[in-house]
Symmetry: C2
Subunit: 171 residues, 2 copies
Amino acid sequence: MCHLCARVSSPPAAGREPLYLDDLHAGQRFTTVSHTVDEEEIREFALRFDPQPFHLDAEAARVSLFAGLVASGWHTAALTMRLQVESGPPLAGGIVGAGGRIDWPRPTRPGDTIRVESEVVKVRPSRTRPDRGIVTVLSTTLNQRDEVVQSLSADLVVPRRSPPGRPAGAP
Amino acid sequence: MCHLCARVSSPPAAGREPLYLDDLHAGQRFTTVSHTVDEEEIREFALRFDPQPFHLDAEAARVSLFAGLVASGWHTAALTMRLQVESGPPLAGGIVGAGGRIDWPRPTRPGDTIRVESEVVKVRPSRTRPDRGIVTVLSTTLNQRDEVVQSLSADLVVPRRSPPGRPAGAP
């Protein structure tokens, strides 16, 4: 069993009260636990999904734009997702993204300890589907020096606690 | 060795002429080879990076928003990157993204065969760094029914063939 597979994650939002659209408002903030990224996992991800020299070979990376080995931006994105699922906002129905704006102002490097801080920016009930809405969440992934390695403004689909005009428990 | 690790990718842009900023212009198009996504790799990626029931368990997925098992959006993004690195635009210096806008109009499902079609949208020499520029590339990931599973407008850092005023070979 490889390093990548051995790290089985905890169940999502385990033991936390789920949040529905009705429970969310702009300004709400969440912070995840942290994760230290090692060179082995950077290389394993890159080998599978982004096999470029600056993610795979320390010597080639040294003379690249990055001046050293760096994680794929998609690896930073995937690790951000894991941190969010495990210890970010415990959204009812899970974290379901329709899309977003992603930026990597600097790369994740071996030994970096990253965490995700997120803030609800906007909550919109759906105009066509009374059972759900779209919540825009700005998630910032920071390293141990509080430098931003990723910024993601994502539109998430979140269910309502109950359809409007039909409170929970109504027949 | 796990399924995930066993699939070692080819070297990037192997045997293809590298493209510098000077070689790129709006309207240029590229198409990758295709990849068929199986349920096992969807579950392996999800276990590691997005452990939510609709990516892991067919029965739980059936009663979810997705009405069946689907790949994590980040898995679609990572597979898109691999296809681009292996058979997309052979950019000099590699495919180095600063950020972009990503959308998943529909999910990737087990058995889907995906490919990436991309188009150069804009080429801008850097105002501060004469050795490089930013190229905006719109990459559309399509399934076997030509349905869009991901759209990514990415800003890529691409080196110039030679600094302006100093043609290649000049002393």
